[in-house]
Subunit: 187 residues, 2 copies
DNA sequence: GTACGATACGGAGGCCCCCGCCAGTTAGCA
DNA sequence: TGCTAACTGGCGGGGGCCTCCGTATCGTAC
């Protein structure tokens, strides 16, 4: 499959992806595809060919981070304290979502595709997170009716809402803490 | 001030605002200003003159809702149960933010202006909410370190993250409930 | 080493959008 | 009624997204 791709195509793919990472980091989820093409030294049609739609490009840009987070979740599955493991992972996700511009948008928008879409960043993350949540639930450390998808949605929302803050990461972590403890519980 | 405005200017202002409400409801926060002008039967420059920037237009569009929510907060200040009053108000805000397309964006973007900006939708809401939060805090019904701004940010985030969901309102309310109770508390 | 078919490329054109400037027009006042 | 200033709408520039299509390049078979 990948070998049936021509060598120049693979070269361009890599070059575009590298530029896209920089541009998204600099300008967020609505970086200019045109500009990415220009900087990468390819025609705009080539960008569209490799990444049909902004969504696809964002997915590719964040694929590595998603992978890393999935791996982290897997590693945490055997941790001694299920509740702490879950919290740790959520904090890590918050870090990524709050600091990597565009990632929260990518996660939020991915949600409207079919939930079964294996390509979806959100679905992949939810799948990786599920075991952690189940373990925490069995230990009675989370409310019974919370799902992995819920948690990812909440973190995504926090990241989106704090994006325009000064020091978004700190604010996001504060709000995550609030969400975890519950705003309504008595002190 | 408002009387020094010419009659036709006021007419156009009202017409543009009415069209803008429909367009924003239909296409969300990034409705086309050009299109609004066309539908309203005025030049695009006229829209720009009355509402310098998309932000200003969104503020005007949602001003009534903001006003209504502020009034509601004032009315709830004397309610018997401070905790229930706060919850009710948050549910109302969630309703608005989740069903009125673009409102969540408006709130989130408003946050990056100076916090003291009285024109800011978010600031106005926070100001109206403050007494409710204080009363609930005094009654020990909320965690001590939560502020009105925090709560608005959380609801805004939930609305943003559930925007692309089927049935966003239901999902938003579910997540609000989760946030209120705390995801991490044991069942 | 060459010639051929398939594949990928990239520039041009269409369409839309936001923005700022302009002279014309109209409302309100004397 | 006539004047003045505020208000108006159209136009052009700059940019972005998307599609089409002729062309250059790659990989392979001879």
């Amino acid at each position: 499959m990948a070998d049936q791709q021509r060598a120049d195509a693979r070269r361009n793919y890599a070059r575009i992806l590298a530029v896209a990472e920089q541009e998204v980091a600099a300008h967020g989820a609505d970086a200019s595809l045109e500009r990415i093409a220009r900087v990468a030294g390819v025609g705009s049609a080539t960008v569209r060919r490799h990444f049909p739609g902004r969504r696809a490009l964002l997915r590719a840009v964040f694929a590595e981070r998603i992978e890393a987070l999935s791996a982290r979740a897997a590693a945490l599955t055997d941790a001694a304290d299920p509740a702490a493991a879950l919290r740790d992972w959520l904090a890590a996700l918050t870090d990524y979502a709050a600091s990597a511009r565009g990632m929260a948008d990518a996660l939020a928008q991915d949600r409207l595709t079919e939930p079964e879409d294996v390509q979806s960043c959100a679905a992949k993350l939810a799948g990786a997170l599920e075991p952690l949540v189940e373990r925490a639930a069995r230990a009675g450390a989370v409310t019974a009716d919370v799902t992995a998808a819920d948690l990812i949605t909440l973190v995504t929302g926090i990241a989106l809402a704090t994006e325009h803050h000064p020091d978004p990461a700190a604010e996001a972590h504060r709000l995550l803490d609030l969400t975890w403890r519950g705003t309504g519980s008595a002190a």
